[in-house]
Amino acid sequence: MMKNGRIAIPSMGSGGLDGQRSGHFGHCDVFTFVDVEDGKIKQVLTIQNQEHVQGGCMVPVNLLAGHKVNALVVGGIGMRPLMGFRQVGIDVYHDAERIDIRPVVEDLIAGKLAMITDDQVCGGGGAQRV
């Protein structure tokens, strides 16, 4: 269960709590940030993603670390960015089923979402993307 912290969700379009998730974090339009305080949603923000270039896996890692993100929810991710997120202390959770942001965020706060495992990464185990 998450009591306090910032959750990042790769999102399509303008994002937001009622928006939809993007299937690949590196190519998302925006990141929706959900700030959690005492286990409740305190505020929701969005920030623009940066340009995606081949091999630029550390660009979103640096972006999210710079915005003090604690947890990220992905539908798919490569091993390199996953290792990068681990290195900067951002927990990476996995949900490859649901497109809507709100239920995924609620499950993460409630402690019902699992962290991604090494065999779920793209290229390593054929993980599905949202």
Binding site: Q50, V53, C57, M58, V59, N62, R80, M83, Q87
Partner: protein, 126 residues
């Protein structure tokens, strides 16, 4: 200065790159002659880019790139490859390889790689 490590057990690939990079004043070049030597070097020193040959004396270039992720995932990597574009994409998925280089890279390949690297470094170097 941009610090680059070339990992190559054969001279053909390393020499081709060295002769091109020599002309670039903003680059400092180091070489490792095996995958394990390269892994030990990326553990101890910080490089902006590692360029690996396709086959090393102790592992393949892509195996090296995969092992490097456990040591330092922040380092950018390019790899020599004789595979087609699609085959390389499939073989390297998830490793975050910047670019595949031919086994005998020319100046145009290196220039393209450096432009690509600069683009990434502008977002990731603070």
């Amino acid at each position: 200065m941009i610090r680059i490590l070339i990992v190559s057990s054969e001279n053909v690939f390393a020499d081709a790159l060295t002769s091109i990079f020599k002309k670039k004043k903003e680059v400092t070049l180091t070489r490792a002659e095996s995958g394990n030597q390269g892994l030990s070097m990326v553990k101890d020193q910080n490089y902006h880019l590692v360029i690996t040959d396709e086959i090393l004396s102790d592992m393949t270039g892509l195996e090296f790139a995969g092992k490097m992720l456990s040591v330092n995932p922040m380092i950018n990597c390019a790899a020599a490859s004789s595979l087609s574009h699609d085959e390389f994409h499939e073989a390297s998925e998830g490793l975050g390889i910047l670019m595949a280089l031919p086994l005998k890279p020319g100046e145009n390949h290196v220039n393209r790689l450096m432009e690509h690297l600069q683009k990434i470094l502008q977002y990731t170097i603070s």
